[in-house]
């Protein structure tokens, strides 16, 4: 019953959303093999001219590259070995109630924003970037760590309650368990992505369990926040149902005008809140899913293959224990709230 209510509500909200505003982009250039995954559909080879809409994910392999042009004229360059998700989040300050939210889940993506009246946000597995300027690059390592480098304008990087404002030629790293690092000199030639990835891998190699646990904390937070907003959405949904009955009753007893008054003063704010809560709980569950898919899986690959012939090794056993705890939370606190199409 609840699942049906959610589906009906999501359908209603999707139609409502699309009518209001929807961020879109076009794949303007590509080299090599680039794959596009549309929410709920199988992966397919991407082609120049493909339109990207909210929920789409682009994958580049080790020898490919893609460029996306947004309706505003802004451009995104997705480098080799990357995973980029084109999405949106709730935004009460925006007329449409939402704004673009682009995720750099793996690899590196350069952004050149124009017409910053409606700035999107950029997310990595562990940080959120508010765009205040035009030209910057985001690097994400397999362990979820990220490095942001600004070439022009300003970018605000937030993680774990800390925030730093980066100006041109500045950069900052965010790593699990370490939070936001010191701002560093990021002039051209000073930044090396391969060195950043190598450093991230060495960090996780030196303490696999500690690194996984640090990621797991963020993962648990997404699961808890998602549940909190889902429960709030359910409460709000009950209010919507009650108000609907109240409107019908008022129409019968006092006429259309009185019913329209309740519609305007009570129902409409409840519906907007519903929209907001729906987007927020989905955002948290999907963020948890991405953390699982792109970061926790990278840990598993790295340590499983390292100990493939030494499964009795205490280091592997400890890692496996921590990994199973994460899977337990995933299976019980996240999967029940995801659609099969998400998986």
């Amino acid at each position: 019953m609840l699942k049906n209510c959610i589906i009906i509500s999501v359908l209603f909200l999707s139609v409502f959303n699309t009518a209001l505003w929807s961020e879109s982009g076009v794949l303007s250039y590509l080299e090599g093999r680039v794959t596009l995954e549309r929410s709920g559909s199988p992966q397919k080879p991407a082609e120049i001219g493909d339109t990207l809409v909210s929920g789409d994910t682009l994958y580049t392999d080790s020898k490919s590259f893609a460029e996306v042009e947004l309706a505003s004229g802004s451009t995104l360059s997705i480098k080799e070995g990357s995973v980029f998700n084109f999405g949106e989040i709730a935004d009460n300050d925006s007329k449409s109630g939402k704004r673009g939210f682009f995720r750099v889940l793996l690899g590196n993506v350069s952004f050149k924003f124009k017409n910053l009246l409606r700035e999107p946000e950029v997310g990595t597995p562990l940080a959120v970037l508010a765009v205040r300027g035009t030209d910057f690059t985001v690097y994400t390592a397999p362990d979820g760590a990220s490095m942001t480098v600004v070439s022009d304008g300003l970018v605000e990087v937030s993680s774990g309650g800390q925030t730093v404002l980066l100006a041109a030629d500045q950069g900052v790293e965010v790593a699990a368990g370490l939070g936001l690092g010191e701002t560093f000199d990021a002039r051209k030639g000073f930044v090396r992505y391969d060195a950043f990835v190598q450093q991230a891998l060495e960090r996780s190699d030196s303490d696999p369990v500690g690194s996984l646990n640090a990621i797991a904390e963020q993962f648990y937070e997404y699961a808890q926040d998602g549940k909190f907003f889902l429960d709030s959405w359910k409460t709000n949904y009950e209010e919507v149902q009650k108000t609907r009955s109240q409107i019908d009753l008022t129409r019968e007893k006092k006429g259309d005008e009185a019913a329209a008054e309740i519609m305007q003063t009570i129902m409409k704010p409840l519906q907007l809140r519903s929209l907001d809560l729906n987007r927020t709980y989905r955002f948290n569950f999907i963020s948890g899913l991405y953390l699982r898919r792109y970061v926790i899986s990278s840990y598993y690959i790295r340590f499983r293959t390292k100990f493939l012939t030494d499964t009795g090794n205490p280091e592997w056993q400890k890692f496996l224990e921590a990994y199973k705890d994460v899977l337990d939370v995933y299976d019980n606190q996240l999967i029940p709230f995801l659609e099969d199409e998400d998986l």
Partner: protein, 160 residues
Amino acid sequence: MFELRYNSFVKYIIKALSLILLILSSCSTMNNRQTMLAAGDISADLVSGDAEALSLRSGTPFLFETEILPAPAQLDALWQGIASSSYDFDPSGDFTVLDADDESWRRFSSSREVEVWFQRHAPSKAALVIIPTSSGRLGLIIDRDRRDRKPLRGLKVEAE
């Protein structure tokens, strides 16, 4: 009388079309022996530690034990890790080819998402190939569709 003849003609056409479809589909599907040959090529790449060849043979989203890997970059990391491991991938016995069925997901994980992977992402003509090795045994998911240039869709490594 005419109607009777017309009905028989339609039935004949449907039967003929079904036969043609059956022949065409069997042409595009590998039988067990051909599936074993495809598994043999993959096994040879595993033995030689050719990570690049394995990446080229693998389709996404790929199932590696409990993990679903949607990105080519993750596959590269997987095959590089496998290639640098000391696991002995040399086959130590005969390959076993099974058709993937509703219960195949349980061989990989008990997780709901792996069950969903089998329902949504496993090829419709998937085979499960079991290869015994001196280190344990391997489970490969292979697409029997000949047109698939990336037939390897899943792997499970079991140690003795």
